[in-house]
C-alpha cells in the first residue's frame, strides 16, 4: 500500500515509517498537515495515517481539507491521537478509524490491513 504518515514527533514518525516499510508498504512522511497535503496532492496514496496536534495544520484540519477536495474525498484516514481521541470520534465523517496513543505496533499494522482491505473491497 502507498501510505502517507503525518506526525510532528520525530521518534514516533520514524518508528511508524520503518515498521510500515518492513510490513511491505511504501511510505512517505510529513511533519505537519500542510506538508502532508502537498505530498498527497503530488501522488494520491491509499491511506493517510495522521496525528492530531501538529504545527501549521492539525490532523483535523488536514482531514477537513481532504474531504473538501472532490478528488481526495474517499481517501481513508486513520487518526492516532494521545488526547483528542474523543473529539475525533465525534467526527466520523472525517476519520475512518481512530486509535489512541500509546498503541502497540501490531494494533496499527492490523488497522492498516483492515482499512486497506476496505478500500479494495
Amino acid at each position: 500500500m502507498n501510505i502517507v504518515v503525518v506526525e510532528d514527533e520525530f521518534l514516533i514518525a520514524d518508528m511508524l515509517v520503518v515498521s510500515l516499510e518492513e510490513a511491505g508498504h511504501q511510505v512517505r512522511a510529513a511533519a505537519h498537515g500542510a506538508a502532508a497535503l502537498q505530498l498527497i496532492r503530488e501522488q494520491t496514496p491509499d491511506l493517510v495515517i495522521t496525528d492530531f496536534m501538529m504545527p501549521l495544520m492539525t490532523g483535523l484540519e488536514l482531514a477537513e481539507a481532504l474531504k473538501a477536495d472532490t478528488q481526495l474525498r474517499k481517501l481513508p484516514i486513520l487518526l492516532v491521537s494521545g488526547a483528542q481521541g474523543a473529539i475525533a470520534r465525534d467526527r466520523q465523517d472525517l476519520f475512518d478509524l481512530v486509535l489512541d496513543k500509546p498503541y502497540r505496533l501490531d494494533t496499527i499494522l492490523d488497522a492498516v490491513e483492515q482499512l486497506g482491505g476496505q478500500t479494495k473491497g
Binding site: 510532528d8 514527533e9 521518534l11 511533519a31 492530531f52 496536534m53 504545527p55 488526547a83
Partner: protein, 469 residues
Amino acid sequence: MPGLDRILGGGFVEGASYIVQGQPGAGKTILGNQIAFATAQSGRRVLYITLLAETHDRLFQSLSTLSFFDKRHLGEKVTYLSVFQTLSKEGLHAVVSLLRKETKKREASLIVFDGLLNARDQAKTDLDVKTFVAEVQSQAAFAGCTVLFLTSARMEDNSPEHTMVDGVLELHEELVGVRTVRRARVRKSRGSAALGGFHQYEITGEGIALFPRIEAAFGTPSVDDFPDPRPLTTNIEGLDGITGGGLPQGSTTLLVGPSGSGKTSFGINFLAASCAAEPGLLFGFYETPDRILLKAKALGLDLARAIDNGDLEILWQPLTENLLDKLAYRLLDAVSARGVKRLFVDSLGGFERAAVHPPRLVEFFAALTNELRARNVTTVGTWEQRDLFAKEVAAPGPEISSLLDNLIMMRHVEFRSQYRRLLSVLKVRDRSCDAAAQEVIIDGNGLAICGPFEPATGVSTGLAGPLTS
C-alpha cells in the same frame, strides 16, 4: 503559583521572555507544564513546543499523576507541538516562522519552549542562537505573548541567551547530608524586583511549590506594628501575679526546660483560655492532636470543645524532613486564617532541625517573630534543654534568645531526696518581674504555681540543698 510570583516580584511580565534552567530532574518540565495549565485555567491559550525529547503521550502519562494536569485542555487551550523535524530539515529560521504562525493562529499568550539546548546544538555560532532567541521573543512580545525557554544547559551569565532574555530562573537540586534539597533562584529579572538568593521548593502530586525565604519575603512585617501594652492572661494559676498581669500582648516568650519539666502542660494551660476573641493555635512537632487532647484531659482541661467551636486548632508536623520556610508559611497561614491571638509552638527546635543552612536561623526567627508581633499574636515557644538536671542552661544561641521578649525557665530540682518542678520568670518585656524560683504543681487541675520555692542553695544546678546558716 504564589511562591514563584513572590520571588519574581509579581510574576512573569506579559510579553517578556525567560530562561528556566536546571539539570535533568530539577523539575523544569513540571514547572513549564504547571504554568501552562494555570494559564489555560485562566482561559488563555498556550503553545508547548518540544524538540527531541520524550514523546508527547509519554509526557502526558507522567503528567497525569499531577493534579494540575487537565486532559480537557489538551489541543484546546494547551497545544503540544514538536518542531524537531522543522529544525533539522529547515533550520532555526523555519522554527521562528512556525512559532509566529502558530502564535497567531492559536492566539497564544504563553509559549513554553522545552529544549533550548537542542536549538543551541543546531546553531552554527553564538550569533545564530542570539538571533533565534531575539526573533522568537520579539515576535512574541508583539503578540503580547510570554515565552519560557526551558533548558538543561548550565548557561553562564554572559551566555548569548542570558543577555537577550528578561529573566533567568534557575532550578537546582543537591544533596545536603543525606537529604535532597531543591532550591530555586532568580538570576536575572528585568522590570521587576525579584527576591534574590536561594528559595526552597518541593515537587509533590500538586506540582512545584516554592517557599520564598521568610527573611527575604518578610524583610519588614506585612502589617504595621501597633504594640498593645495590655497583658494577656497566661491562664496559669499564680503566674499572672508575678509577671505583671500576664504576658504582654503580641510578645514572644521562650520557655526553656528539659523533657518532663512541664513545658507542654504550660502551653495547654495557655491555650485552654482560647476563645472567640482570642483564637488559639498549637503548632507542634511532637504529639499528634489526639495525644494532646489526652494530655489536656489528664490535666482536667477540655480542649476538644474549643476545637469543635473553632476557638482552637492543633497543627501537627512530624519532626521528619521538613522545609524550614514551608513550616513558617504553614504557621503564618494558620494564624491569618483564624486571626490567632494565642500561639503555642512546641518546639522552636522543630524549625532548627529543618534548617539546611543553620546560620540563617537568626534572620529567620527575627522575620517570623516580627511578623507575629505585628499581627499581635502572643506566642509561647518551647526550647528543649538537653539534660534533665543540668548546670548549664542550653537556650538557643544568644542571637536568637535576644529576639524573644520574655524568658521563662522550667526545671527539675532534686531537694531532700524529692524531685520538684520549678519555674523562674527571668525576663518580661518592658516590665519588672519576680525572678524567684517558683514551685510548679501539675495535677488533674492543670499546671499551677504554688508560690516561691523554699529557700535553698544550688537550685539552678538542679541539685538543691537546704540553706546552711
